[in-house]
Amino acid sequence: MSTKGRSRRSFLVESLTGLNAAWVAANYPGILAAQNYVRKSVEAGQTPRLAVLTESQAVEVEAMTAQIIPTDSTPGAREARCVHFIDRALATFARDKQQAYVQGLQELDTKTRQLYPDAQKFSALTSEQQIKTLTEIEKTPFFETVRVHTIIGFLSRPEHGGNHEKVGWKLIGYDDSLNHKPPFGYYDAQAQS
């Protein structure tokens, strides 16, 4: 994998070009979410660069992460920037998984075209189609790797690139102050009162 040094903003925006208008219309809510995300990260002055994944690979990985921990009324893997956690992991502690990602994404592409011959790529599928595709490969070592990396990226310390603005910790109600005083929970509080 090459180091392109292109910004996340550019890869996401470019990933939307070349799609036909009908597809954009059909998938508008999802695209809007991606664009909103991009706008927010630009406003925050945070446009992390990719170290290992190419832009097109990153778009596909992000689409996978966004199905593993989807965005609904609360932030998901997308807002947590799990794809950036993964990119950084592939440059550091998970270097040995680089080839698995290259190969796995190729297989994902093959599976996508097998199920949806007209599709251009996994990320361009509708959410329902993405879920169906991932369900087909959910027993593969590649999916398991991405699943584990997504969850870790969602819940690890933000300095590793994911869990942006601690959205993962907020979802699970985790207080990262590393300094707690009793009562800790409902039942010990009840016992004390």
Binding site: I131, L171, I172, G173, H180, Y187, A191
Partner: protein, 557 residues
């Protein structure tokens, strides 16, 4: 720190810097003897503990220098359930740093009960054909050393007068850690069921003690070094005192491969690999082996000579046999309100009523039930959700949000019968990273152990029901295969044919060689070995010092 040259014949070499090694190093050096401690692991963050990380991703990817546990891909080991099958690669791992397992453990510090030292002769439920035997030490003999261990290391807890707890001559030095929600729920259940709940005694201090700060309930505990030095590891309690004597050198990254003998059959030092895997020798007048039950037995088996062709101090043929790793069982439940169990220590209150074996149950076995539920963010996300929840997608996310902080787990620490067929030996094929034969583990559970684990599994479910859990699950029980609670491989006894060390930890075969760690356990108690290892170490040190001062131990015969 004092440095000795390899050619200097020191009074004692201590192999292994864990719970027992720390006590031996400190007691012997304070008594005036020269000591070299050889530890195969590194320093960790010794003396700069605030630098320990609380980062789950980093902790999964530590450099060799920062590792606190052994690495099964380097300290290779293999496993087989019995002799009929070939061993496969195993993942046995243990503390591997100055401080050993006490640097990262949960800190449970229960005493063995008086009758646990003489079950073989007093407990009618013990099946025939096992290796159960009485200890050559009584609880009454050991009690002062339990107290010494609690006060010199720093144990929090509450002294309770109960037939299910060991009687204590003195209170704990600091009060118990705060009651957690899991403990409160355990109390609710226990009140309905007529059971006894006590705070878990922990080697984690609840108040400032001996110059160290109290636990801040950080929530990233077991598996991590303690930044505030509240966990009473030997790295913050024993080794700093040993170093200050100016007589103790701690030499890290020193992996002992052989204990050597002189012509008269006394040990005279060790051969070890340094950090660059170069072979070094250290001369010593006496050797204390404190490398934990698995590695201590393996090192004796590796130390073959014409005098001891089957391994050093192994005339009984029992070195490595009767290994016990520690059986467990338990159940988890979800509750309506948040428990936030991740805040604070991992092991909370305990139900102790089922510690004794009961003939009415129809098998031998007992155990302690501890209230838990501690899950770090990774533990929750990767394996902490209830069975049947989706592994990804909207359903996964929903469960992640709803179940977080609502879980309680009961972990039971139970008996394990010592069996001669369960053992540590040298793998004939697999070598470790240093080219030495890997540790091979052969272990299966006695049928009574399985029945006992099943009893505790069901009892855990009952307690969670009585506590009001909305959903309960309990994993199937299984025989233990490995683990840091390993013990029993150089059992102590009065008969040299039936034991490896005497009641003061001296090997029956070699007058100046001692094995002081979990190896000497005759029976497994109710798991939770650390405090008993420490009490035995204080007692052994006292006798070794007396002998050494008389001169016999340190002069050639």
């Amino acid at each position: 720190m004092k440095k000795y040259s390899n050619s200097t014949e020191v009074d004692f070499v201590v192999i292994g810097a864990g719970a027992a090694g720390g006590i031996m190093a400190k007691q012997l050096s304070v008594a005036g003897f020269s000591v070299v401690v050889l530890e195969q692991g590194g320093w960790g963050k010794y003396g700069r503990e605030h630098e320990y990380n609380k980062d789950e991703w980093l902790n999964r990817n530590l450099s060799d220098d920062d590792r606190l546990m052994s690495d099964p891909s380097r300290q290779r080991n293999t496993f087989r359930p019995n002799d009929k099958v070939k061993a496969v690669p195993g993942n046995h791992s243990y503390g591997c740093v100055v401080g050993g397992g006490t640097v990262t453990y949960g800190g449970s510090n229960w005493r063995h009960l008086p009758y646990e030292f003489r079950e073989a002769s007093h407990d009618p439920t013990i099946p025939s054909g096992t290796g159960m035997a009485d200890w050559p030490v009584t609880y009454e003999e050991l009690e002062p050393y339990y107290t010494q261990a609690e006060w010199e290391t720093g144990v929090s807890g509450l002294r309770v007068d109960s037939p299910f707890l060991a009687p204590m001559s003195k209170d704990y030095p600091v009060p118990p850690m705060p009651l957690k929600s899991s403990g409160a729920l355990m109390k609710t259940a226990a009140a309905k069921m007529g059971l006894t709940v006590v705070p878990g005694p922990l080697a984690i201090i609840s108040q400032p003690y001996m110059g160290r700060g109290a636990c801040v309930n950080c929530g990233i505990c077991s598996g991590y070094g303690c930044q505030v030095r509240a966990r009473s590891s030997s790295a913050v309690t024993m080794f700093p005192i040993a170093e200050k004597t100016g007589r103790c050198e701690i030499r890290v990254k020193s992996y002992v491969r052989e204990i050597t003998l002189d012509n008269s059959g006394r040990v005279n030092g060790v051969i070890y690999f340094d950090a660059q895997k170069r072979e070094q020798r250290q001369k010593a007048k006496s050797v204390i082996l404190s490398a934990n039950a698995g590695e201590s037995a393996r090192l004796l088996l590796l130390s073959k000579s014409s005098r001891f062709p089957d391994g050093l101090a192994n005339s009984s043929g029992l070195v490595g046999k009767y290994v016990m790793f520690g059986n467990g069982a338990g159940a988890s439940g979800l509750f309506e309100h948040p428990l936030n169990e991740y805040k604070g220590v991992i092991s909370g209150a305990g139900i102790v009523d089922y510690v004794p074996s009961d003939p009415k149950r129809g098998f031998y076995g007992g155990g302690r039930m501890t209230a838990r539920g501690y899950l770090t963010p990774f533990e929750l996300g990767l394996g902490g959700l209830s069975p049947g929840t989706p592994r990804w997608g909207a359903g996964y996310k929903k469960a992640l949000e709803e179940e977080a902080n609502h879980r309680m787990t009961i972990n039971c620490f139970v008996t394990q019968l010592p069996l001669e067929t369960n053992r540590i030996d040298l793998d004939p094929d697999v070598k470790d990273e240093w080219g030495l034969p890997a540790m091979r583990i052969t272990s299966s559970a006695h049928p009574d152990d399985i029945k006992n684990m099943e009893f505790f599994r069901k009892k855990s479910i009952e307690i969670l029901e009585a506590a009001g859990a909305k959903k309960i699950w309990a994993p199937q029980v299984a025989a233990s295969r490995n683990g840091a609670h390993n013990r029993g491989t150089c059992r102590m006894g009065n008969d040299p044919k039936k034991s490896v060390v005497d009641k003061y930890h001296r090997t029956h075969d070699v007058a100046n060689l001692f094995v002081v760690d979990g190896s000497s356990f005759v029976t497994g108690g109710r798991n939770h070995p650390t405090l008993t290892i420490e009490a035995l170490a204080f007692r052994a040190a006292e006798h070794i010092i007396q002998d050494a001062k008389k001169g016999a131990l340190l002069t050639k015969s």
